[in-house]
């Protein structure tokens, strides 16, 4: 099948790739660009492990075609830390033991970062509903919610 040529920006870097018309953005990120931090838990938009930002909005990359990403700005977990400095959310997730197996973590971090960019002072309920599309089977979400709230507080103090 003829491959499609796509150019996009991933975590600020220009990228170029060929992809099959049926390949998803998730497939492209993982298999063509080597960015395996974004995970596949279901491939049907139900788990959020594949969450990335596309033009500033959180999307399930398994529901976006690679070809659709042409010209888009994409953000993944690999772009969260500023070189050596972790994003406060990343630090707080480690500190609060908000991951057990860690497979849900990249998607949750991407989604939570997007939440805090929009809502710097979320309530517990807002955090829970914002993350309702990101499944975690290990933690019961308790420590995840606490880590997000704590990161939000720290980010408000040090703008």
């Amino acid at each position: 099948m003829t491959q499609i040529h796509v150019t996009a920006t991933v975590n600020g870097d220009p990228v170029e790739f060929l992809c099959d018309p049926r390949e998803t953005l998730l497939d492209v990120l993982r298999d063509r660009l080597g960015l395996t931090g974004t995970k596949e838990g279901c491939g049907t938009g139900d788990c959020g492990a594949c969450s990335v930002t596309l033009g500033g909005r959180v999307v399930c990359s398994c529901l976006v075609l690679g070809a659709e990403a042409d010209g888009a700005e994409i953000g993944t977990v690999e772009g969260m830390a500023d070189s050596e400095t972790l994003h406060p959310l990343q630090r707080k997730f480690i500190e609060h033991a908000a991951l057990q197996c860690g497979i849900c973590t990249p998607g949750i971090l991407v989604a939570a970062k997007n939440l805090l960019e929009r809502t710097p002072n979320p309530t517990e309920t807002e955090v829970r509903y914002w993350l309702a599309g990101n499944l975690c089977r290990c933690t019961g979400y308790d420590k995840i919610v606490q880590a997000v709230m704590d990161a939000a507080e720290e980010m408000r103090e040090i703008p």
Binding site: T36, T38, A81, Q100, G102, E124, N134
Partner: protein, 749 residues
């Protein structure tokens, strides 16, 4: 130095909450899970699965698939080792069907192609001719006369005569005379309960990358809870020598018991052998649901007698579990756990392992126990309600303790059930007033915990830092606990210990990360490997000082002379000894190999408040408290995490999750949309209380904590919902329609 049995108190590192060593990798996306590996020249595998619940395979035509130029190989059952017996045969039969497809989703063939898309296309071109056979998916129906026979000779000698061939194993245990006990009771309640099959629901689907050459030597990378069992099983299924296959465990994205066996790994190896190229297989979510092990569904009858003062006079249970098309439903665990929390004079339990046309069940967190607790603890709650007794006081009155005889035989060692009940009773949650429409439920739960073969190596680096190699995949922060225990013993800072999960070629055999055994058994071996290292360190210091090794002690990371004749020397730090080790006798390495005894059982008590919406039947869990005995919490955050995670899975099991089969025997809901696990907005914060009643079988008192946390929730939530709704809920899940129906039955609407 008699270090072997030393029990430390006054911990320095144990009980603290340092950052986990693999945290950075896991928050940056760097950690490599099963599907994250690639190899040059790699092919992609895809599996052809039966759409029928029960069918004879008449023929497989692979010609159209093979005609695709991207396709490099197709394998069927003929590509695996012949002549297997016992569990190896069962696993092979499950991994690749032989004469019959036994459930919807059963693998019948597999292809390898140059791209994942081509592999999937090719799988659709494999033509299988089936003769459809009658099927059965319900446990009670499968036991009935006239039910389709799934596998003729699957039953073992334990099954009483006259039972349907689908009953493949039987268990009976207990003591006393239950009839006598029931005669002493003021009230006897007998109820029938059912639970549906649920899936472990790990977010990472099974994934592997296999390389196997014509010389019979291979490498396997896979997401597994136990790479030695994967090595052993794959070697058997492929007809290889065990040591010829090196298995590396990837980071693992959840398992909960479901990754303690193999599914795609032998298939990838077979495809690799046929193509001489690396083959990667990653399951889709629907494959995970249809073809990997969910837990058993159950049908249970429980009868309990109680006196007016709350004394339980007798308990009796019959537990029927289906485990899919293969023997192995954990009915003996259900039976043994059922009355374990209680000190009963008269108790009797029976279990049936029943096969039907569903995927082979796999272990799921305390396999068999949560269902038992659901039935027993519901009846106890009903007895308390009718006799007007406090549910915690009744449990305290009848609770098992050190020296009492367990319902399944042994006499209890030091156990912590009573302590969890007392802590629950004294917790503010238990005395907090309920809101309108809410009910409160309490339940206890029990799990045995497991020890298993364990092997650990600890090597010193020249700069005095420590490399610890364990063989138990880190499924939820165990590297942190291992580093803590090594640091505690050696007297070095926590972050000087680097923990690696070694591959099968680098360490002796290690049992699977299951049975809540990792912190207990790998922890025990880590402590002993550190003590072995310390003996060697002290020996080097003694040689240097020219004194007897017995006169050297290890204190705060240094060798120090001790005893009246040791002489006066400055403490010798670990780094100094390490720097000179090449010249003083060679590398310093400690190790320990063991199958420990004394895993130390664990009990928990949970309290739940739940509100039931009378119009929709929907349940909201409004408050949840877990109280559990950890023996000793090495890293309390990860202990709490296990408590919370188990409770959350229990909430899903109690309220939403179930395998739904159609009349055609096909699974109706193989995806997270229709098989709904709890999401963040479904749950409250989950409060935890860590009780520490030391396990005499571990140097620090550790008991495993991973599994017990899922034992009480089904019953605790059912009790809360029943109390809120004013009607006893005996069937799980308590989905809204079911609760609504129960409410309507009660009010006669």
């Amino acid at each position: 130095m008699a270090l072997d049995d030393t029990r430390i108190t006054g911990f320095k590192v144990v009980g603290t909450r340092p950052d986990r060593p693999d945290g950075l990798d896991k928050v940056t996306g760097r950690a490599k899970y099963g599907a994250d590996a690639t190899a040059p020249g790699m092919l992609f595998g895809a599996i052809v699965r039966s759409p029928h619940a029960h069918a004879r395979i008449l023929g497989i035509d692979t010609s159209r698939a093979e005609a695709m130029h991207e396709v490099k190989a197709v394998v069927t059952r003929a590509d695996f080792a012949p002549g297997l017996t016992g569990e190896n045969l069962n696993v092979l039969e499950n991994v690749m069907a032989g004469e019959k497809a036994l459930y919807d989703g059963h693998a019948v063939a597999a292809v390898a192609a140059t791209t994942a898309l081509a592999a999937r296309d090719a799988a659709r071109l494999v033509e299988v001719e089936y003769e459809i056979l009658p099927h059965v998916t319900d446990v009670d129906a499968a036991m009935e006369e006239g039910a389709p026979v799934i596998r003729a000779d699957a039953a073992d000698g334990s099954v009483p005569e006259g039972m349907h061939p689908n009953v493949v194993r039987y268990h009976e245990s207990g003591h006393g005379n239950v009839d006598e006990g029931f005669a002493e009771a003021d009230l006897v309640i007998e109820e029938h309960f059912t639970t549906e099959a649920t899936h472990q629901g790990y977010i990472e689907p099974h994934a592997c990358l296999a390389t196997l050459g014509a010389d019979g030597k291979g490498d396997l990378w896979c997401s597994t809870q136990g790479h030695w069992i994967a090595q052993k099983t794959c070697a058997a299924l492929l007809g290889l020598e065990q040591s010829a296959l090196r298995v590396t465990a990837s980071e693992i994205g959840g398992g909960f018991g479901g990754k303690t066996t193999v599914f795609i790994e032998p298939v990838a190896l077979a495809l690799s052998r046929k193509t001489s190229r690396p083959v990667k297989i990653v399951m889709s979510r629907s494959e995970v649901f249809r073809a990997t092990g969910p837990t058993s569904s159950t049908s249970m009858d429980v009868r309990i007698g109680m006196k007016k003062d709350g004394t339980i006079t007798a308990g009796q249970g019959v537990f029927r579990l289906q485990g899919g098309a293969f023997p192995g439903a954990p009915m003996e665990f259900t039976a043994m756990c059922a009355f374990a929390p209680y000190n009963l004079k008269h108790v009797h339990q029976v279990g049936y392992d029943v096969i039907c046309n569903r995927p082979k069940q796999a272990a799921y967190r305390a396999p068999g126990s949560p269902m038992a607790a659901f039935a027993v603890e519901s009846v106890i709650d009903e007895l308390c309600n009718r006799l007007g007794l406090d549910p915690i006081e009744v449990r305290l009155k009848n609770g098992s303790k050190e020296g009492t005889k367990a319902s399944f035989g042994p006499t209890w060692d030091r156990i912590g059930l009573i302590e969890t009940l007392e802590a629950a009773r004294d917790h503010p949650h238990y005395s907090a007033p309920l809101n309108e429409g809410e009910g409160r439920g309490v339940s206890c739960g029990f799990w045995f915990n497991h020890a298993g073969e364990t092997s650990v190596t600890l090597a010193l680096s020249e700069d005095g830092t420590v490399q610890l190699m364990v063989g138990t995949p880190d499924i939820g922060g165990s590297r942190a606990s291992m580093a803590i225990m090594a640091a505690e013993e050696l007297g070095v800072p926590y972050d000087r210990v680097r923990v690696t999960v070694a591959d099968t070629a680098s360490l002796g055999y290690n049992d699977v990360s299951h049975g809540s055994r990792v912190t207990y058994a790998s922890g025990l071996a880590t402590i002993q490997a550190a003590r072995d290292t310390i003996r060697k360190l002290c020996g080097r210091a003694a040689a240097k000082w020219g004194i007897d090794p017995e006169a050297v002690e290890w204190r705060d990371g240094c060798a120090v002379p001790s005893g009246p004749n040791a002489g006066e020397f400055d403490p010798m730090p670990i780094a100094d000894i390490a720097a000179r080790m090449g010249r003083t006798g060679g590398p310093i390495v400690g190790h320990y190999e063991v199958t420990p005894e004394g895993a130390g059982v664990s009990f928990a008590t949970h309290i739940v408040d739940a509100a039931v919406d009378r119009e929709t039947g929907a349940t909201e869990v409004s408050r949840y408290t877990v109280v559990q005995d950890a023996g000793k919490a090495i890293h309390p955050s990860y202990v709490e995490g296990q408590y919370q995670g188990g409770a959350a899975q229990g909430i899903g099991w109690a309220l939403n999750e179930e395998y739904v089969y159609g009349d055609d025997g096909r699974l109706q809901n193989p995806g997270f949309l229709d098989y709904r696990i709890p999401v963040a907005s479904d749950l409250p914060m989950i409060d935890t209380v860590i009780v520490e009643v030391p396990n005499p079988g571990h140097p620090y008192g550790v008991r495993g904590v991973g599994e017990t946390s899922i034992c009480p929730p089904l019953a605790a939530i059912a009790n809360a919902v029943s109390n809120a709704a004013g009607v006893r809920m005996r069937d799980l899940p308590m989905r809204p329609a079911r609760v609504l129906e129960a409410l309507q039955d009660r009010t006669g609407e």
